[in-house]
Symmetry: C2
């Protein structure tokens, strides 16, 4: 179980002035990890933490050996071009590094003068995927999403009988995962228009986003050795934002019987920032489900889960059309939801994934599935917001949308906020739709 310690103290300030700005994503209590280099520099990639409007270059910082012991070993792992080495070191090392970096970045730190030389403005940084992602698994943890999508694809049986028992998931495509800023060319695919006798190859006309939380695995498990639910969170390094782009017309035609394939694997966009589980400790909230629903089987149940198994993480999706961009109008928020409402928790995802002995590895990515909330306007995809394309959205720009148009930029954002604690932001995961080739 992650604990709240001095690194979460809301009174902490940093000598990096921008980190002390009210409402920013990256106060000293956050310290999310990323992989970067200076834009256009061709420099080697290396790990960093975000602080205010800067990144702290951990390779450069580490060269001066400001930390000792486990924290120093963890910092040394950050000279790599991906977080995998740090992830593999385990939760004690992550905690030690967090503590060390927090001390270095605090107002009055004796390291300030030196560490200032390792700062790079985020505006001068180009980000890469935070980890080499070996396997990517996408869950389906929002019962609201599962029900809404089920209604469209299977009107007779929206929520299947296994849903409340099994944390449903499928394997996704790792090669096409990209970092915020990803360009997504409208894909072609085989689809069968309504009423058509035969399928055809066409550019999708039902391109959609999905608002998800990504979960980066830190330490893995050997093949054949399940991770118990009580130990599951120890294997989690941190969270990011994830857009599971989807071609709904392709999906409808291809998905039976083996699940989504080309409808999803052309692109997945994640945020450059991985917010650590440590940073999220103050925002844990009880996990529960309605008494009338089946309670989880023992391998998916745990007392700690009932106390603090969920995460109070606000999510939102915003759309910037080409017309908005031309006029300098800001993106329009399309919906909000909260990861707290997920029907299955992260610990349950990990325990279920490994109960058969499936081996997870450092850097593996789990998607939460689209996070649609119980309220109106809390749908995490256009499919849901427009009732399968039947009720177009009227945008403030005067434009209409059922599904995404070329030039649309989709921006996911996330943040944790709680009275008495510093706001922890996730930055954004943005991607833009290019016309079909």
């Amino acid at each position: 179980m992650r604990v709240i310690d001095g690194t979460h103290d809301p009174a902490l300030t940093s000598w990096v002035e921008s980190a002390n700005r009210q409402g920013g994503d990256f106060p000293i209590q956050n310290l999310p990890f990323a992989v970067f280099r200076r834009s256009g520099s061709g420099e080697p990639l290396r790990c960093a933490v975000g602080i205010g409007d800067q990144v702290l270059d951990l390779a450069l910082l580490g060269a001066a050996q400001p930390l000792e012991g486990l924290a120093a070993r963890a910092l040394a792992a950050c000279a790599e071009p991906a977080l995998n080495c740090l992830m593999a070191l385990g939760s004690e090392a992550w905690r030690a590094l967090r503590q060390g970096l927090s001390e270095i970045l605090r107002s009055g730190s004796r390291h300030a003068a030196h560490a200032a030389g390792a700062l790079v403005p985020q505006s001068d940084a180009e980000f890469a995927l935070p980890a080499r992602i070996g396997d990517y698994t996408d869950f389906y943890t929002s019962i609201q999403h599962a029900t809404a999508v089920g209604r469209l694809f299977r009107p007779d049986q929206p929520l299947l009988p296994n849903y409340k028992w099994v944390p449903i998931a499928y394997h996704g495509r790792a090669s096409s995962i990209g970092v915020s800023g990803q360009e997504v060319r409208r894909p072609y695919g085989q689809l069968k228009p309504t009423g058509a006798q035969e399928p055809q190859l066409a550019a999708t006309s039902r391109l959609d986003y999905e608002l998800e939380v990504g979960v980066f695995i830190g330490t893995g498990n050997p093949r054949g050795e399940p991770v118990s639910i009580g130990r599951a969170e120890e294997h989690v390094f941190g969270l990011c934002l994830l857009n599971d782009w989807s071609a709904r017309d392709v999906q409808a035609w291809e998905y039976q019987p083996l699940g989504p394939f080309l409808a999803k694997n052309f692109a997945t966009t994640i945020s450059p920032w991985v917010v650590t589980f440590e940073a999220l400790a103050p925002f844990r909230s009880p996990w529960s489900r309605p008494d009338a629903d089946p309670q989880p089987l023992p391998y998916l149940d745990d007392p700690a889960l009932r106390v603090l198994g969920a995460i109070d993480l606000e999510l939102e999706v915003a759309l910037e059309t080409a017309a908005m961009r031309e006029r300098g109008a800001p993106p329009q928020r399309l919906s909000r939801s909260n990861f707290r409402d997920s029907y299955w928790s992260i610990a349950q995802m990990v325990a279920h994934h490994t109960v058969n002995g499936c081996n997870l590895k450092p850097g593996d990515l789990l998607g939460s599935g689209t996070q649609s909330g119980p309220g109106s306007g809390e749908a995490g995809s256009l499919l849901e917001l427009t009732d399968g394309g039947r009720r177009p959205l009227a945008l403030e720009s005067g434009e209409m949308r059922t599904f995404l148009a070329d030039g649309d930029r989709v921006i996911l954002r996330g943040w944790c906020a709680r009275q008495g604690f510093a706001r922890i932001g996730f930055g954004e995961a943005a991607g833009i739709v290019l016309p079909a080739a």
Copy 2:
């Protein structure tokens, strides 16, 4: 299109005498790639080709620089602990290396004396996965398998309407793929016994194998740029055998709506040998389908496909129970089939996989799906052979099997044979079932 050249000449012999033995898997016309080290040596892994009962250590061979130009560059890539570097070099480099190795290994070669020092008996070698597999995709290309399995899972609609149009596939798990010899602990999983009110966690009682062909991608494609069917085969490095272990009771309960997940991802076993597409050139056969069936959409069709799109590759699965092992009885063949009968070809798999811009990478693995043939006894899984477990198999040992028992060793084999050409063998992909933990 791969051509038949001098390397296929059936009159070729090797100074490695065991390669000239009639009916062996690894004559000089084959030269399949693998990754190995001497058993228990702790040496670095490196690439090799199989020749007779030996492997030729390509790292050691390469140190003497016996080749020039493109072939030398390809040979240098074989000092790596995986085939990915060689795969990335492309089909011209693969062909040049094959030509060079064929000349080195021929009877009378001036390199014989030196190259003999780079031979290691296969019995002294331990094999690793031939490539770092980034993404693993499993297709479903046997219409006999799809129909038979569909009948069991969906009696009302065995073959779904998309099957004859879409080369159905799903993403599998890369982390749990192992090489022949893999131990497979009987997995636990959530399942719902017939007639039970609620699901439970239990060790699977319906553990099965699936007889598949694996396809290793050589050169990849950039994200957003589909591979046309006419160029698809240029991206294929070679083929292996693949056992997609499956827990049928878990599968039945979990697979809707997103496809198989824990029922499949606990283990996948492949052969150590990758037989190159070059070596298979003499065994290409026409691809066709019944006139009454829909013909492929243009992006999946190609004149060359109709001429030589399929591969005449014999497959078989054999079972060795613990009792057979104790008695020294040989494994019993359970079924045979031929990859030639696949409803979809390899080129169609590649073209379909990338039509939406999904990027393939060197070392990615495609599974063909279970290869069940049209004849009786040609079913590639126990699920089919026992009619869903309703008709137990009586083994020659006097034992009965519906699904796999602890201690069962499953052995997949494959070979190409054609009058006037040397037999090209695939070795085997074997794995053994351990009791549940």
